[in-house]
């Protein structure tokens, strides 16, 4: 059984194939990284998996279940949570509030019981709060708990978004460029957390990342793509030494 598998996924935007027949498998409890030059189609792959885009052809399975045509809002209840390249937090709400939204799929109350804030709702709220506090402790966010997102620096927002994904109790997280825009220290912290997510929490990670030292530090396997097509797949070292990959990156440098 494969934990997660994408088979021949393709997507077209007005005749342009942004992702072209890409296949890959991810083992349970591993860190799988997708690399590639700008515009290669990495984010698009994430948007396909989280069902924001409808793929043109191909199939996606997770824990032996076909999730190719799942409604968008059901992906996370299957255990796949994600972050966004450009941070999609709820800006006018506090950190705590954002993390509690991460608990949404575990909130079972109905509209009427919410309107009266029945004791059962209160009990569940306290339970979710406890779970959120675990994540706050894990990511060292205590200091920011009651601050509005719009007042936080970029690096902290990145961590809050990671925290929100963890609050869903996922089996797998999709991290879109978790270290982009972070300084050296923050990137180092991020590397430790990603490693902890895998080792301590047992959560599988699929990640898109440009920072090659971070990639080789944490990844178990790496997939390199360009123009929506697979260039190479293997261990971080194998992929970095692959001539096709070197050409893709150097070619890009030449254009600049």
């Amino acid at each position: 059984m494969t934990f997660f598998s994408a088979k021949g996924i393709s997507i077209e935007f007005g005749g342009i194939r942004a992702v072209d027949n890409v296949s890959f498998d991810v083992d349970k409890g591993s860190i799988y990284t997708i690399v590639g030059p700008n515009g290669a189609g990495k984010t698009t792959i994430f948007n396909i998996i989280s069902r924001i885009y409808n793929l043109t052809s191909g199939k996606i399975t997770f824990e032996d279940q076909d999730i190719t045509h799942l409604p968008t809002h059901q992906v996370v209840s299957r255990g796949i949570a994600r972050t966004f390249q450009n941070i999609e937090l709820f800006d006018h709400a506090t950190v705590l509030h954002n993390l509690l939204i991460g608990r949404h799929i575990h909130c079972k109350s109905g509209l009427l019981s919410d309107l009266f804030f029945l004791p059962s709702v209160k009990r569940m709220e306290l339970e979710h709060r406890r779970r959120v506090e675990d994540v706050i402790d894990f990511l060292d966010l205590q200091h920011y708990r009651d601050q509005l997102i719009q007042n936080l620096p970029y690096g902290v927002r990145k961590i809050v978004e990671l925290g929100r994904a963890l609050c869903t109790d996922p089996k797998m997280v999709l991290l879109d460029e978790p270290a982009s825009g972070l300084n050296v220290d923050e990137t180092e912290d991020m590397a430790f957390w990603i490693d902890d997510i895998k080792k301590l929490l047992g959560i599988t990670v699929i990640m898109v990342e440009h920072n090659m030292s971070l990639v080789s530090q944490v990844s178990d396997r790496v997939l390199a793509i360009n123009y929506g097509k697979v260039l190479a797949e293997g261990s971080p070292r194998e992929v970095q030494e692959n001539p096709e990959v070197i050409k893709a990156y150097l070619g890009e440098e030449d254009v600049r």
Binding site: T43, N47, S50, I52, P71, T72, H73, Q74, V75, V76, S77, A81, R82, F84, Q85, N86, I87, E88, L89, F90, D91, H92, A93, L96, H97, L100, I101, G102, H104, I105, C107, S109, L111, D114, L115, F116, F117, V121, K122, E125, L126, R129, R130, E133, Q150, P153, Y154, R164, T168, G181
Partner: protein
């Protein structure tokens, strides 16, 4: 400045965050309870009117301020509540049942109307709600057997448990009780999962959806609750008017309701209340101003709706956080007095959202 030292998760769930709130809101409540003893009947009537506006304001705040669904048609829910109440009363239903049914029917209509609207956003959503309000107005004009059409419909006095509630102070307390219930419901909602989901949808639909929030379902919920509250306001409004005619529920009322939540402060409960006070006092202010204005301005036709529009635009441009936002800034200024920095509330853009997924 006050620093709140938190020792329990319950503190974040409490409605009144600390004892200062308990004191000031307690004082306010006592003043409101004693008002009928101290004030002239005219003012009591006006205050009851402001309570009704506040109920409707909370009803509109839920979709507009919390869920981010701009509605230009909320006069329709006021109309549905008002006509349902008046019709049921004239058919012999008791007041309490009639008002409750008015709210429930308006809520059902709200939920139903949200079904075709759930995929629309922004200006398209606003126009669709406007169309809905126009349709409701047309139905009222033409469904004469129920609504009395253009001829209108008389509204009976409220009767509770055999007691006729014809006095102004009695109506004042009825409105106050409904307002307090609606206020409690709103506060409960925003501290519970449903309210959080609304706010999430407002701030980022894409993110809300990937956190497992079913957008259509919650937009329908938001409109159903809004219909309930606004319908209740409409039911009480019927008694205030005493005689219903379709033109009491035209586009101007929708704009007035919208002005209330924008001027008060979008996305806050205080905003709905402050907005209601503002809108309730505005006609008086205009009437007084008219005496001092040269007649060719004071008697200008359409002065009032024009003024509403101007106020709405001025607030959107210069004070987007509304009266409540202004109050918060003022409070902070006092608390930090010598240290206050003017730039505290400057909007800062620390990154660009260029590549947002559509």
């Amino acid at each position: 400045m006050r620093f709140i030292f938190k020792t329990s998760y319950l503190q974040d769930i409490r409605l009144l965050k600390h004892n200062g709130y308990v004191f000031w809101y307690g004082l306010l409540l006592i003043a409101i309870l004693l008002a009928p003893l101290l004030l002239d009947e005219f003012y009591i009537g006006e205050m009851a009117f402001i309570f009704i506006y506040a109920i409707a304001g909370l009803g509109l705040m839920i979709p507009v301020g919390f869920t981010g669904l701009p509605s230009l048609g909320h006069a329709a829910f006021m109309a549905i509540g008002a006509y349902t109440n008046a019709y049921l009363l004239s058919s012999g239903y008791s007041f309490l049942l009639s008002v409750a049914l008015a709210g429930i029917i308006s809520s059902l209509v709200g939920g139903l109307i949200a079904v075709p609207l759930k995929r629309m956003t922004g200006i398209y959503f606003a126009i669709a709600t406007l169309a809905f309000a126009i349709i409701v107005e047309e139905i009222i004009v033409h469904w004469e057997s129920v609504t009395g059409g253009l001829g209108g419909l008389a509204v009976d006095y409220p009767v509770i448990l055999g007691f006729e509630m014809g006095e102004t102070w009695q109506f004042y307390f009825i409105c106050l009780i409904v307002l307090l219930l609606v206020l409690l419901g709103t506060l409960n909602l925003i501290r519970s999962p449903s309210g959080r989901a609304f706010i999430a949808i407002r701030d980022s639909e894409i993110s809300a959806e990937s956190m497992g929030i079913n957008l259509s379902y919650y937009k329908i919920k938001s409109f159903a609750i809004s219909g309930l509250f606004t319908g209740l306001a409409g039911a009480l409004f019927a008694h205030r008017l005493a005689y219903l005619a379709p033109d009491a529920f035209n586009f101007l009322l929708s704009i007035q309701l919208l002005m209330m939540v924008v001027v008060g402060g979008l996305g806050t409960v205080h905003g709905a209340i402050l907005g209601a006070i503002f809108v309730g006092l505005l006609p008086q202010a205009i009437a007084i101003a008219k005496d001092y204005l040269p007649p060719f301005i004071g008697e200008f036709p359409g002065l009032e709706p024009g003024l509403f529009g101007v106020i709405l635009v001025l607030f959107i441009v210069f004070e987007p956080m509304g009266l409540y936002g202004r109050w918060i800034k003022f409070k902070l200024f006092l608390e930090m007095f010598p240290l206050y920095r003017k730039a505290t509330f400057k909007r800062q853009k620390s990154y660009l959202k260029t590549e947002r997924v559509q």
